[in-house]
């Protein structure tokens, strides 16, 4: 049994985990470093523009020659109302570009190393939706193909107009959050990578509800900003030069990352902390400086938790950015080694929103930052995994029932709210969570990719146990960090690990689970359908077997105790079939636990004795269950909770009437 399971695990272990060697004197490469960017950019704070020069070296990791390059020109999403982003935003996002706040990027030149100008060859393409007016993906045919293993180096000159803050990027007054700002090459997926059956570019348009996907590499960036501006960026600051025109140029180096973002503002208050070898920089708005410990403390806790339960954070720097007032659209966004948070003045300690955002965005350093899934196509793999760990960390730090809010007796936990995000949907079965990000029905992207995925993982944890789940996640991280896994790669890890730890309890693999919850849209809902308790009439008359009891059946009147027979019926209302535990309690305090495979629509359990209570999933191991109210039945129904809340309601209604009497 175990031999069967070990084989796929061993097979997984054969995936190459070492990457190209680093240059002498430099730390070893953590990733394959497909791209290398050297960018000089100047921020014009009055015009809100960027003037940049970018040298890109791209390496062909496939076994076939590549004829063209494809670039993301993300800022063009905010160029006009006809971009795919803006069209989709009308129904999917509650954002709008304010008057005069459009943003775009213009390419001035694109040259090969030999000086060949390619700008005139560039065309915009629309691989996702056929919107010819979208300018977010640019195709560059090359005069000569890049051979397998070969590289191509290009120099691009561009000028970008930053939008007034929208969808994680732009400006608000003197605050600048500069993300998705440079011409960024897409991912060429050789055959066998993720779902690719032949070598092809994976370069999606910018959608209203999708994020990003890029190759790992090295970024050397010179940022020139006016003097007095405080700057934070992906990577490590390597230098600072004061220029004759009062500007300052900051030099950053980031290796083994797949994006580069930065921020600048003259108002930031910088607070620093360290966790082991990691320097944590918090760039806070002055009015939020008093909350520095909340951000830094929760970042340290998250670093410790993920280090213990997933894997090490390999970078030396981490920057936390608190966007300015009016720039809330920049809040709650992750980039490699830098993320944005959100808070407000007077935020009570019992409302742990700053901690939640910090922890969530930090977890993204792992899930998409290092385990670089395709956020366009499989958003569940970054947002959902992150949400799962966010709830774990929050609940472990602040208590399962109090982790999100604990304020004047009102309290609830992060996992509780995450589950509600999913179960509270009008139709939780509207689409599978594996739907590409831009194809989700309106309003369902967030609840399904964040909420449902977190519940899928929590339910998996409930089934296989926390220890097995930790092994799965550690293995997944170790195998896939600095690479581009897809859903089937994660499932393969689960299928390899679970049989080793759990034996044949769940069968040879867990595909039966993932087929339902990842690739299917069914809902999970178990119930206790009924409890029937019947008084048993003992056999009467002259019984041959036991003449001593031949006069049985006289019941209570005869002095013998009452006898009962109970039938507990449990049911599966949803389509998802899972093994569940049924707890049955008797009037003498005895409890029996049954295991039901959940395959049929109903199951009956018969007992001699008087059942007073039955519950499916008594330990709440299946948070995917969309209705916990029908999970329990009692005979007779308890009156305590009913009266408790009736009394409470009575009191508050009385007070409401008295208040109304006062003001009327």
């Amino acid at each position: 049994m175990r031999t069967f399971a070990v084989v796929p695990l061993a097979a997984l272990m054969t995936v190459p985990l070492s990457f190209s060697p680093a240059r002498p004197g430099q730390p070893p490469a953590l990733s394959d470093r497909v791209v290398q960017y050297a960018i000089d950019v100047t921020l014009e704070t009055r015009e809100k523009t960027l003037s940049g020069s970018e040298r890109l070296t791209w390496r062909n990791t496939s076994s076939e020659p590549v004829q063209e390059l494809q670039f993301h020109m993300y800022l063009n999403a905010f160029k006009n109302t006809e971009s795919t982003f803006m069209r989709e935003s009308r129904t999917r996002r509650s954002v709008a570009v304010r008057e005069g706040g459009w943003g775009w990027i213009d390419l001035h030149s694109l040259r090969l190393e030999n000086g060949t100008e390619l700008k005139e060859r560039c065309t915009f393409i629309c691989p996702d939706d056929g919107n010819a007016k979208d300018r977010t993906v640019m195709r560059v045919p090359l005069p000569a193909p890049v051979p397998p293993g070969g590289s191509v180096a290009l120099t691009l000159k561009f000028r970008a107009q930053l939008p007034r803050i929208i969808a994680r990027t732009g400006y608000s007054g003197d605050f600048f959050m500069v993300g998705q700002w440079f011409p960024k090459v897409g991912v060429y997926e050789p055959a066998g990578t993720r779902y690719a059956t032949k070598g092809e570019w994976n370069c999606h348009q910018f959608h209203a509800s999708t994020e990003f996907y890029a190759d790992f590499g090295v970024y050397d960036v010179n940022l020139t900003v006016p003097g007095g501006f405080i700057v934070g960026a992906t990577g490590e600051r390597r230098g600072e030069r004061r220029n004759s025109d009062t500007t300052v140029t900051y030099t950053y180096h980031a290796a083994d990352v797949h994006d580069f973002a930065w921020t600048a503002s003259p108002l930031y208050v910088e607070v620093t902390d360290t966790w082991r070898q990691v320097s944590i920089h918090a760039l806070l708005q002055p009015q939020h400086a008093g909350q520095a410990r909340r951000f830094l403390g929760s970042a340290r806790e998250a670093l410790g938790y993920l280090d213990a339960w997933v894997g090490p954070y390999p970078y030396a720097d981490l920057t936390i950015v608190d966007p300015a007032w009016g720039a809330e659209e920049a809040a709650g966004m992750e980039y490699p080694q830098l993320f944005t948070v959100e808070t407000f003045s007077l935020m009570p300690l019992g409302i742990r929103f700053p901690e939640l955002v910090t922890i969530h965005e930090f977890v993204h350093q792992y899930f998409q930052g290092m385990v670089a899934t395709n956020e366009f196509e499989e958003a569940w793999m970054d947002e959902g995994f992150t949400q799962y760990y966010e709830t774990r960390i929050m609940d472990s730090l602040y208590g399962a029932k109090t982790s999100l809010a604990d304020f004047f007796g009102f309290h609830f936990g992060d996992r509780e709210l995450t589950r509600i995000e999913y179960t509270g949907m009008n139709d939780p079965g509207i689409a599978p969570i594996t739907t590409p990000g831009w194809k989700f029905p309106a309003g369902s992207y967030g609840p399904l990719t964040y909420g449902k995925t977190a519940m899928v993982l929590s339910t998996l944890e409930g089934l296989i146990g926390r220890a097995a789940m930790d092994t799965v996640m550690k293995t997944y991280f170790r195998l896939w960090k600095f690479r581009h896994p897809c859903g089937k790669d994660f499932v393969a890890v689960v299928n390899a690990v679970v049989p080793v730890i759990c034996g044949n309890r769940f069968g040879p693999d867990m595909n039966w689970y993932f087929d339902q919850v990842l690739y299917g849209a069914g809902i999970c809902d178990f119930e206790v359908t009924s409890i029937a308790v019947n008084r048993v009439t003992p056999a009467g008359g002259m019984l041959e077997a036991d003449t001593a009891q031949s006069h049985a059946g006289e019941g209570k009147a005869g002095g013998s105790p009452e006898m009962f027979e109970s039938v507990v019926t449990v049911g599966r209302r949803g389509d998802v079939r899972l093994p569940v535990v049924v707890a049955v309690m008797f009037d003498d305090g005895r409890e029996v636990r049954e295991e039901w495979d959940g395959r049929g629509r109903t199951a009956e359990f018969r007992y001699g004795g008087k059942v007073v209570r039955a519950g499916v999933d008594p330990g709440r191991k299946i948070p995917l269950d969309v209705n916990l109210i029908n999970n329990v039945r009692t005979v007779p129904p308890p009156v305590g909770p009913v009266w408790k809340y009736a009394v409470k309601v009575l009191f508050w209604i009385q007070n409401m009437f008295l208040f109304a009497a006062t003001i009327a």
Partner: protein
């Protein structure tokens, strides 16, 4: 008469009219019970109640949310009951204030007949006054919000911090509370003046009460604030007591129920005491005024 003297006298007068307080409390309990019993029936749906067991021990967001979600239609029906009963209660309170004031004004011991007589005498006038108060308050609130919104928008656009906006919202909220406070006081004194002078025009009574309040602002406000503070103290005492008594068993639920009802009764006592204060204050400030015979209409 000084404010402490008015308060002492009002307390004695209210104490003398305990049955009046109990009548008001009883009305309140009766109306609220309709909603509470509807809620009880809604919660006690067979099959649901078992799952709600943990809620007896502690607040459970997961269960509560699932319960509310799965009973959406019933909640909608319950909400309609709440809305209807609240409106009915507001109207009944306006009507009953005629009975309260007539009883207090007469100086005679409480009798249900006199109370109901007072209710009937002033019913339509006080209902008209209720509508008038609503309109005036609504218009004042709309005007205030209309002034505050551009200021808040400007603060939001021209500052790099949310603090000026928070301060602006706090100032606007304070102003709104003051407007409501003034309107409530004016409405109360309009009722007192109506009972004392048997006015027929509620608009005039409302206007007269504003003039009266303008002339006697500090004394009137002091009385309102003191009674409001007493209510706050009472509430703090209630919270302290119920904080010690977690509702995690049947006897404790009963005990908390008793504490709650004592609290509500005390609030009714303070409500009557406030009317008594306002009557005494009006008597002491309106020159030549004395007890006025109620003219039955």
């Amino acid at each position: 008469m000084t404010t402490p003297g008015i308060l002492r006298g009002a307390f004695r007068e209210t104490y003398r009219n305990i049955p009046l307080v109990t009548t008001l409390y009883g009305m309140n309990l009766l109306f609220a019970s309709v909603i509470a019993m509807a809620f009880r029936a809604f919660v006690a749906n067979p099959g649901n109640a078992g799952a709600l067991g943990p809620l007896l021990k502690d607040f459970d967001m997961t269960l509560l949310y699932d319960f509310l979600r799965t009973r959406g239609e019933a909640i909608s029906a319950l909400w309609q009951v709440v809305l209807f009963m609240t409106l009915l209660s507001v109207a009944l309170n306006a009507v009953s204030s005629g009975g309260v004031l007539a009883t207090l004004e007469s100086g005679a011991p409480y009798s249900l007949r006199a109370f109901l007589g007072g209710c009937g005498t002033f019913a339509f006038r006080f209902l008209r006054l209720l509508v008038l108060t609503g309109i005036v308050t609504g218009l004042a609130a709309i005007a205030l919000v209309a002034c505050a919104m551009p200021v808040l928008w400007w603060l939001s656009r021209n500052h790099t911090s949310e603090i000026p906006v928070i301060e602006g919202i706090a100032a606007a909220a304070l102003a709104l509370v003051l407007v409501l406070f003034l309107a409530v006081m004016a409405s109360d004194y309009a009722r007192v003046l109506t009972v004392r002078a048997d006015s027929r025009s509620m608009a005039r009574a409302f206007g007269t009460s504003f003039v009266f309040l303008a002339k006697n602002a500090w004394g009137a406000i002091a009385l309102q604030v003191i009674v409001a503070l007493l209510t706050v103290c009472l509430f703090a005492l209630y919270l302290g007591l119920t904080g010690l008594l977690e509702m995690n068993s049947g006897p404790k639920v009963v005990l908390v129920f008793i504490v709650q009802q004592v609290f509500v009764w005390c609030r009714s006592f303070l409500r009557v005491m406030l009317f008594s204060c306002e009557l005494a204050f009006t008597c002491s400030r309106v020159s030549g005024s004395g007890p006025t015979e109620i003219v039955s209409t």
